[in-house]
Subunit: 149 residues, 2 copies
DNA sequence: CAAGACCTTTACGTTAACGTAAACCTCGGC
DNA sequence: GCCGAGGTTTACGTTAACGTAAAGGTCTTG
């Protein structure tokens, strides 16, 4: 790295409503932090999951962006598509001035996701049992191999 | 369906080692059973995850095949690739006459998968908290909307 | 024997989620 | 002044996991 990890300019006295820790990040920093490529991060922006500020051409990410990315990647690990993730994220953002219909729709989606997670929990439980079984057998065979081969 | 659900011919007296329930399935039956297309099932075979017998041209699936398919689909729901699933499945099959190196490798893979599952468990827990939070906020906003709108 | 219902193979099409390459800008340090 | 480490856009390539015809075989039921 050529520059020290980017921090914003020290807050002056008359700054806004106490921006407690106004740390910012470059795209490269985030990439290393989450072990993804910069391409991935730019792609997520293109897909409407991130919207960093710009200093000239350069993207500047703040805390909110970092959290977004974290949640996005977590969703991915759970097998959600970017479209699904965006659906929730965008509705969350639009929530304050959402109308009844939108809010009910959001709650509906959330319920659905939750059902999904419950099923995954069960799947994991079953899968763990399977793995236990396979490993036990493998160890048995290994032991029975004794000192031959 | 034109034919009744396929069952094998009634076992004759001198049959093998007591095939307790020798039920068989057509590709269409399995497809309905698991809510996938026949294309998917044929694709899994092509990828080396299934190997049904043939009666002429037609595929005949037995209990073992059905379980395989079930496990495969469960793996998919957990975000495993077909390649990963095949890796475990094939090693499992090759286990009895596997050498030490293969067995150790299998156990290694299993440990890795298990780590994966643990992480998913944590991800799910966190994701559930997020969803709870979002839903709570949504309900708050909805309530605050009172009778307006 | 014709119509369905089911099966088969072959093969090209599609989508999501990036990878990869080219060509360029820009800043700080030697 | 230029070099290297970062950043940028544009655009074509790739992979997994199927979807979607098209063209044909087999059986049974009216």
């Amino acid at each position: 790295m050529t520059q020290p990890p980017s921090t914003s300019a020290p807050a002056t006295a008359q700054d806004g409503p106490l921006p407690r820790q106004r740390r910012t990040y470059s795209i490269g920093e985030l990439a290393k932090m989450f072990e993804v490529t910069t391409r991935t991060i730019r792609f997520y922006e293109q897909e409407g999951l991130l919207a960093p500020e710009r200093r000239g051409q350069t993207r500047i990410y703040d805390e909110k962006d970092r959290v977004r990315l974290k949640l996005t990647l977590r969703g991915k690990r759970l097998g959600f598509s970017l479209a699904e993730i965006r659906e929730v994220v965008m509705m969350y953002d639009a929530m304050p001035d959402g109308n009844r219909r939108q809010l009910r729709r959001l709650i509906e989606i959330l319920t659905d996701k939750r059902r999904n997670l419950e099923r995954q929990l069960e799947d994991i439980r079953l899968m763990q049992l399977e793995l236990d079984d396979v490993e036990r057998r493998a160890r048995d065979v290994l032991a029975s191999l004794g000192d031959s081969d």
